[in-house]
Amino acid sequence: MSYLLEVKDIVKDFPGVRALDGVSFGVNTGEIHALVGENGAGKSTLMKILSGVYPDGSYGGQVLVDGGEVRFDGIRAAERAGIAIIHQEFALVRQLSVAENILLGGELHSGGVIRREASLAEAEAALKLVGLEINPEIAVGRLGVGYQQLVEIAKALRKNVRVLILDEPTAALSEDESRNLLAIIKGLAARGVACIYISHRLGEVLELAHRITVLRDGRTVSTEEKTAMTEASIVTRMVGRELSGVFPEKESGTGNDLFEVSGWTAEDPASGMRVEDISFKVRRGEVLGIAGLVGSGRTELAMSLFGAWGPGLAGSVRLDGKELGITSPRDAIAAGLGLVSEDRKKFGLVLPSDITTNVTLASLDKVAARGVIDENAEILAAVSYIRDLKIKTPSPEQRAVNLSGGNQQKVVLSKWLMTAPRVLILDEPTRGIDIGAKFEIYGIIDRLARGGMGIIVISSELPEVLGLAHRILVMRSGRVSGELDGKTATQEKIMTLAACA
């Protein structure tokens, strides 16, 4: 019997990089097939070949559907063959409404005129498939990343898919939403849709997948039944060595007060989002975790503290007891704050520029004298972060747009580490990062904290918050709903505080 979809000996070169070097595997009808591997292993590249983003002729090897070779000349050709992809980086038109996005490319019309009511109904039906209850007429750009991802999935589900490719679909989702999505995927598989599922969350992979293929450096390491694998055996195959995935020991006694926020209120009239009356302290050397559901106002809190979010601010922020009057990110950086934002493409990277430029962007003063940049100092700085954070790239002159998602995240992190902030706010710092690199980043957070930095980690991954934070703040609907001690907190306690009362 032939596979529904199969690839054989796929090779794909980019200038200076061989991204894929002989990958083969197959997917059966109704199978959930997980694809795992380190950042830069070639997962996204492979999926872009399968979905026609990289057309026939730009790669070597064969793609077979129902045992016959296919050659896609574009995304539409792949879609006609029943293959749809949900990209790691979102592909929604921010200005268009949710409904317009869902129907984009397959509009309901009569004689070229959009049938508005029918479209809305159809969009609502698609949204229901992902359990999303929002007004389909609002612009996608006004939704948070979590909702955008669900809209994107709804969009793909509407097409008649035989093979659905999901490239890190849960990276942006909260636990609840992830579980919801996993259930949806299982439902699809039960209806005979084959799913190729890429994720760095191995727990999810083991729960969901029927079979697992591991990629390393562009090659297939193995394809095996889920039952034959454990988290440890996957990791070993991914990185080629054993890895002890433990959180760094938390230092018990932390220093005196460093950063103090009291009565903080911020409102963005455009989106109607607000955070209200938030007060907390971060001590020197302390990691403060902030948990909460998507939409609970965590990102808005971070952005507003950093001077990067709408007007309507009230309350006070103190560093070392001194009141900071931050009105722009520039003030915030000068005062010693850093913010790794959750959306690297929108807020983090200058995509057409190279790694070096991106790493030094927020601290050009450190590599420049009298306004003139010292090229060598700059490259040295970039090279040191490439080494420390193990960024996979042929050179520091590689453009950010050509890096894999996880490596892009590391570049953003490097940029903020280079500013040597006194208080570092990390909004979903390990989104899209492989397990090895994740623990490297945990190690870095620990090292920075031991060095006296105050760190705020916003994360939807509860084990991450629990493993890292000395104290945990839980947010709900723009307010603090409770505070927990890092030692005694549990997932259940956090969820209780986070869930809408």
Binding site: A308, L351, P352, S353, L364, D365, V372
Partner: protein, 386 residues
Amino acid sequence: MEALKQSVRKNIRSYAMLIALAGIWLAFSILCGPVFLSPGNLSNLFIQTVTVAIVACGMTLIIVTGNIDLSVGSVAGFAGAVAAVLQVRYGWGTAGAVLAAVAAGMAVGAWHGFWVAYKKVPAFIVTLASMLAFRGLILGVTGGATVSPLSGAFRAVGQNYLPDVFQHPGSFNGSALLLALAAIAVFMFFEARRRGERLRHGFEVPAPGLRAARLILVSAAIAGFFGILAFNKGVPYSLLLLIGIALLLSFTAERTVFGRRLYAIGGNSEAARLSGVNISANLMALFIIFGAIVSVAGVVLAARLNAATTSAGINMELDAIAACVIGGASLMGGVGTILGAIIGALIMSSLDNGMSLLNLDITYQYVIKGLILLCAVWMDISGREK
């Protein structure tokens, strides 16, 4: 071999433009005969390129930030008119008149900067308004008449050549020769220094063969360029001005904090803002600088024509933007080089020059230029996808 391939691939953009330029020159030398490639015609072509090239250099930075300036033709004409009127009607000296024109240009730049950077009106609209307004103001300043003649010193900016150091009555200009040698020496010096520093830090350096090829090619280009001038009347002042502006802006773009921020603003303004870049202040500064550059171009134009006319600078914005885009600048922002813009400007004026040598009907001249712009950008985009 692999290294060579890589380097070619990496620099394909600038090679492609040079190849296009060479192709155009070759085509015209076949169509027009030897006159096209004669030192006399080529020097002339360089001089014709100067004003647009000066503007294109600055326009590249504007485009890099994701903005555009449609007003450059009108503003250049206006600046030229201001200088000419001050001299001809009010008896100002050349230095005073030129400085006043540059000050006027900077004021216009500040006006644009105010609306674009602080009031967030799209640059397309702000400068479209100025394109109209300043075409009108030219009429106001000149009273609708051509203003001439200008004094000798003023004309020299656009028409005169660097004096020949050797004073020999022959066919050959010694100053051009000396400048060529100096330029090659400076180039070699900086190349060697950069290589030395990179080696010292253990960074990758080009393979020896590649490096030799690069040194020889660039030196040959410098020698060829000054050679053409040497066999004609020497080095025009206006060309020196262009070279000076181009070097300064290239340095600004590639090596300064200011330049770096301009690229970041165009590449992703949100990321730039969150990285502490003061977007409004940087854009304001850029527009003021660009205003000065445009007014210099206007002064050179008036000096070359020995007059300020009401139609001076018409269509200059289109030539300048075309030059930037042919030179690889992306209208999406974040990408573009000064050298590219100059080569682009040279391509545009080569077309003008060659087609008028051929006595081609002006109708076809416009059509052909338009089509070539379209093809150049299309080839660039399809090349980039591979």
